[in-house]
């Protein structure tokens, strides 16, 4: 389940009592409900599912993960080749 796509908030407004916004998915902009990320600011990133932001994307955590995976990459290079690897 759960096609959730990251996008950048470019506009925030209210409609019919709901916090709404426009989200840029990288060249495609669609309106989404921001009621579940009430603290969100323009320029920040959210995860959108069926037209709703269900989570803010923690950019620091995202970078930490990539850094950690990158380091693992370096470590892997130091080890000798072994069987079983694709």
């Amino acid at each position: 389940m759960c096609l959730g796509i990251p996008g950048r908030v470019i506009d925030i407004y209210e409609r019919d009592g709901l916090l709404m916004g426009r989200v840029d998915f990288g060249g495609v902009i669609k309106e989404a409900c921001l009621a579940y990320v009430p603290e969100i600011k323009i320029g920040e990133h959210v995860l959108i599912h069926v037209g709703f932001a269900i989570s803010q994307i923690d950019e620091i955590e995202a970078q930490k993960t990539l850094d950690m995976l990158g380091e693992m990459e370096m470590l892997a290079d130091e080890l000798p080749n072994r069987q079983g690897a694709p």
Binding site: M1, G51, E73
Partner: protein, 373 residues
């Protein structure tokens, strides 16, 4: 796309696969709960690249697949009414009911419309005051906040001609039921990342402890999944059974509080029938009494009289529990194919049967690949 492309990086994924191969020393069976993860695994070919000792079992994480036949029949019945505009997410259109699917209702002249968001269904209701607009509210907890908000808005804004046919299912009770079933043998769990974005992962601590099973909250791209598998396998090799988060960019332990608040306001837990599996207690949501006026089953009492008839040949329940593989079904590829599906697992883009439809045929034409596994 930022936050997506990096998780698809081929080199990074292959490094993780290397690390998994170095770590694993014996056979492990891992279950990924979420259909989106199944889809991603099979689409990227990740399952072919994992070491042979790791077996991935695809759990019942496809809300399309597990929506009770009875509810599909109710949907089909409502959609056929001339005074109803039936709205749904695209996924449900081709799911077979006892007597046809929503697509064939549309073909016969029913007003069936695909929507992207439940708020779009509400918009249609406002624009068509002389009709009833029914929305097929399927999904796991990921989709519940959106569906709940549509009902809440309908109430707050006085949109009386909007109703929801609710078919929500929740993950933790289903996992507990599966882990408790003797035929199901699973060593580790990859928890559904987007469900956890909403609900958090604190609920899994008890599961991990009671069943002594590692649980890793995992994302959806090949790098995310490979990382989830690595962390799970490490736990297994080290004899640990903890809950870990491999999707920190989106998931926190507590989850999304405002979303949970609205879910709790609009829905309450109920027993739910999972197609092919049976009733799992407390594994669904239904609308609270305060929202009874927007409950399609109560608005249209004729839905109570629906009689269902499941295909005798379909064993999607056993597939959903990971007990049988799609290729072990006698109807697989013969009476049942994506073009003429007997059950939902052959319809859904991430249903295990539909997914194996592709892999199985490929394996048949590449025997040398099989021999090396």
């Amino acid at each position: 796309m930022k936050f997506l492309d990096e998780r698809r990086d081929g080199a990074l994924a292959r490094r993780l696969l290397d690390a998994i191969a170095r770590t694993v020393t014996r056979r492990w069976r891992l279950m990924e709960i979420c259909g989106g993860q199944t889809h991603s695994i099979l689409k990227s070919g990740l399952d072919q690249l994992l070491p042979a000792q790791i077996e991935l079992i695809h759990g019942p994480g496809c809300p399309v697949c597990v929506t009770a036949l009875e509810l599909v029949d109710k949907a089909v019945g409502l959609a056929a009414r001339p005074d109803v505009i039936f709205t749904s997410y695209g996924d449900m259109l081709r799911v077979p009911g006892s007597r046809g699917d929503l697509f064939s209702v549309k073909a016969s002249g029913g007003d069936v419309r695909i929507v992207y968001s439940p708020l779009d269904a509400l918009k249609i209701a406002r624009a068509n005051p002389d009709k009833s607009v029914v929305f097929f509210g399927i999904g796991f907890e990921t989709t519940a906040p959106a569906n709940a908000m549509a009902v809440l808005q309908a109430k707050d804004q006085g949109v009386a001609n909007f109703a929801m046919l609710v078919s929500h299912v929740t993950v933790p009770p289903a996992i507990a039921a599966l882990l408790g079933a003797p035929e199901v043998r699973v060593d580790g769990l990859l928890a559904a990342g987007h469900v956890c974005a909403v609900m958090g992962y604190w609920e899994y601590a008890l599961l991990a402890e009671n069943y002594h099973i590692p649980v890793v909250v995992t994302g959806f791209e090949p790098v995310d999944i490979a990382r989830g598998v690595l962390m799970c396998v490490r736990q297994l090799e080290e004899g640990r059974a903890e809950v870990e988060n491999a999707y920190e960019q989106v998931v926190t332990r507590a989850g999304n509080r405002p979303a949970q608040a609205v879910i709790n306001r609009v829905f309450e837990p109920c027993d739910r029938a999972w197609r092919g599996i049976g009733v799992i207690p407390h594994s669904g949501y239904r609308l609270r009494e305060a929202f009874a006026a927007w409950d399609a089953e109560r608005r249209f009492p004729e839905t109570q009289a629906v009689t269902t008839q499941e295909s005798g040949l379909c064993m999607s329940g056993l597939v959903l529990q990971g007990v049988k593989k799609p290729m072990e079904c006698p109807a697989f590829g013969k009476e049942c194919s994506p073009q003429s599906p007997l059950g939902a697992t052959m319809v859904s883009s991430e249903g295990a049967c539909a997914a194996y439809w592709h892999y199985g045929r490929q394996a048949a034409s590449a025997p040398e690949r099989e021999a090396t596994r």
